[in-house]
């Protein structure tokens, strides 16, 4: 039950794949309505059936491993903020669900069958406001509230051959028994194992509908749910297009509705959940205040991966709420790292614009200065570099920059 798995699995539905998939499935399904989505578990839920108890035991061990990982960001303010959001949109299980923030520059969030969620920092970077983040969390939480994992687990045991079940159990056992080493690739594999739990369009539609209901009840604009999916799919497409390839395909058996159909459903959900006269708040200001201190780090993690298509799309998306010095600086970084003919001039321009903003990071002055010096504008360049050292006297590269200033 993970965001990224869902998107990659849906990828082949883009373009020609969409027709093929709708042909194979054949039947048009009725839309799941948000108002029909009630939680199937109450507060303090514990499993009583043997198979579910066993699953929870494995998951408890996986959680122990994850909780001890040094890839987790443990900033108490930030973690309690995220916990607070899950508390707002977690329905009856609001107090039972746990959330872990892993420092991984990729967008993903996953819900485990025993009610804990792992969120990657790359997801925080991509959310424009609290409502969007709450939407993803509500969708994931809905899988737990609707008992999707145990339902599909049982469904699969009923349908599949023994070998498949054995392999799956071994995978989960491995994850629970400490084979998980904290490597985020392995964590992603864990997500893949989790993704085997679902694959049902019905469950995804349920989670979407229930997510929309939960965030609307919490006072967030329900339309943000569909905006999130649009942003995430748009970025994957932009990244793939840039490298001149198709978006990567997920599993062979893709049972998800096309993004377009899903988007349409989410919009309908949002309309139905919107109560006329009620004021909804996306809590953007609060989100930015809480994320602000780590936002430069999040951008650094993304941009330094030198994925120009994805990073540009992301910066432009964040800039829909207004450009600032930080975003302009990282725009320059995208060009500089891309390093094609003419990119140095593009980067130089972005740095020059960035330093005109009061919130420009000190590093914008460094690269502005270095760009000017490469253009032969040595006096202005040195002055910008001096400004960098003034803003960040303890910069680790200060000895080298001082030599350049001469």
């Amino acid at each position: 039950m993970c965001v990224r798995c869902e998107i990659s699995r849906r990828s082949l539905l883009i373009g020609g794949g969409a027709a093929a998939a709708s042909l194979t499935t054949g039947v048009a399904e009725a839309r799941v309505r948000p108002q029909d989505m009630v939680s199937l578990i109450g507060p303090g839920y514990r499993p009583t059936d043997t198979d579910e108890k066993g699953l929870w035991q494995l998951m408890d061990r996986a959680e122990e491993e994850i909780a001890g990982s040094n890839l987790l960001i443990k900033d108490p303010g930030l973690v309690s903020y995220l916990q607070d959001i899950i508390g707002r949109v977690g329905g009856p299980a609001a107090k039972d669900m746990r959330i872990y923030l892993a420092h991984v520059p990729d967008f993903n969030a996953m819900m485990f069958p025993s009610g804990f969620a792992v969120v990657f920092t790359g997801l925080l970077l991509r959310m424009r406001n609290e409502a969007q983040f709450a939407g993803v969390i509500a969708h994931e939480g809905a899988h737990f509230l609707r008992r999707h994992m145990i339902r599909s687990w049982r469904d699969m045991k009923r349908k599949s051959d023994l070998f498949a079940i054995g392999a799956l159990a071994a995978g989960i056992g491995g994850a629970g028994a400490g084979v998980y080493l904290g490597d985020y690739v392995q964590l992603a594999q864990l997500a893949t194992i989790l993704s085997l739990f679902k694959d049902s369009r019905e469950m995804e539609a349920e989670a979407d509908a229930m997510g929309a209901k939960l965030i609307a009840e919490a006072g967030y604009p329900p339309m943000e749910m569909s905006t999130v999916w649009q942003q995430l799919i748009g970025e994957l497409n932009a990244s793939a297009r840039y490298r001149r390839k198709r978006r990567e395909r997920g599993s062979l058996f893709d049972t998800h509705p096309s993004p377009e159909a899903r988007m349409a459903d989410l919009k309908l959900d949002a309309q139905e959940m919107t109560v006329p006269g009620r004021i909804y708040d996306d809590r953007r200001a609060r989100y930015l205040k809480m994320i602000g201190p780590i936002r430069p780090m999040l951008l650094e993690d993304q941009v330094k991966l030198n994925d120009p298509g994805g990073s540009q799309y992301l910066l432009n998306t964040l800039a829909l709420d207004g450009w600032n010095g930080l975003l302009r600086y990282y725009e320059g970084e995208v060009w500089r790292l891309r390093n094609r003919a003419g990119d140095d001039a593009r980067a130089a321009q972005s740095y020059a614009v960035a330093v005109a903003y009061p919130d420009a990071p000190p590093e914008a002055w460094r690269w502005h200065g270095l760009s000017l010096m490469k253009e032969g504008r040595s006096v202005e360049g040195k002055s910008a570099l001096s400004r960098y050292l003034q803003l960040k006297p303890t910069a680790p590269d200060a000895p080298f920059i001082r030599q350049m200033i001469g």
Binding site: D183, Y184, S239, R244, L305, N306
Partner: protein, 209 residues
């Protein structure tokens, strides 16, 4: 750089197991060769270093992922420590082999790069190829290398395997080509253990006449 080769080695082992020629024992398929304590040319042969104790040279797989100006050594295995030599990488080349369609790429080297740009390129290499999720520059200062004015770059990084590693690179751009020796090791114990070897080699490295 090093890790991608390990992955490559791992993918090749099954090949040897399938081989009808019966190859597959470590010796024939050795990933490493011994480097003795005498002047040794590295990379494409244009740089010479003298290791103070024996090291292990990682075998290069041409046509797969290696670049002829780049060579890797290790003392205790590539997960624990390693030295990478770059012997005159020309402008427009990459430190690693990569496909044009790779989503994330190590930036290209250009002859007009300043030290901060070279170090940013190295950082991206660690993030893209090494799986570093946190990377800290500890220091960037001027330092002579091969008789030219160059730089020393100190850094540490947390990788996806939850281990903190620490490294130092000494390099210079000479006649538009990048010359560099990069040391990277597990931060606890291993870094301090082989740093003197690195320093000795960085200090007496020379260009082949």
């Amino acid at each position: 750089m090093r890790k991608s080769k390990i992955l490559l080695a791992a993918t090749m082992l099954p090949l040897s197991a399938c081989s009808t020629m019966g190859v597959g024992e470590g010796a024939d398929f050795g990933l490493y060769t011994l480097v003795r304590t005498r002047p040794t040319s590295v990379g494409n042969g244009s740089m010479v270093v003298t290791p103070p104790r024996p090291w292990n040279r990682q075998r290069r797989f041409f046509f797969f992922d290696s670049v002829r100006w780049v060579e890797d050594w290790t003392l205790n295995g590539p997960y624990l420590d390693g030295i990478t030599f770059v012997s005159g990488l020309p402008s427009g080349q990459y430190l690693v082999r990569q496909r044009r369609t790779d989503t994330q790429q190590v930036p290209k080297f250009r002859s007009d790069m300043t030290a901060p740009e070279v170090t940013a390129m190295l950082e991206s290499a660690f993030r893209v190829r090494g799986g570093a999720i946190d990377f800290k520059t500890l220091n960037l200062q001027p330092r002579q290398f091969l008789g030219y004015s160059g730089f020393q770059f100190d850094f540490e990084h947390l990788d996806g395997d939850e281990l903190w590693r620490k490294g130092r690179a000494v390099g210079a751009v000479i006649n538009g080509r990048l010359y560099l020796i990069l040391y990277d090791a597990a931060r606890s114990h291993y870094y301090a253990n082989a740093l003197p070897d690195f320093e000795a080699m960085a200090n007496d490295a020379r260009l082949k006449a």
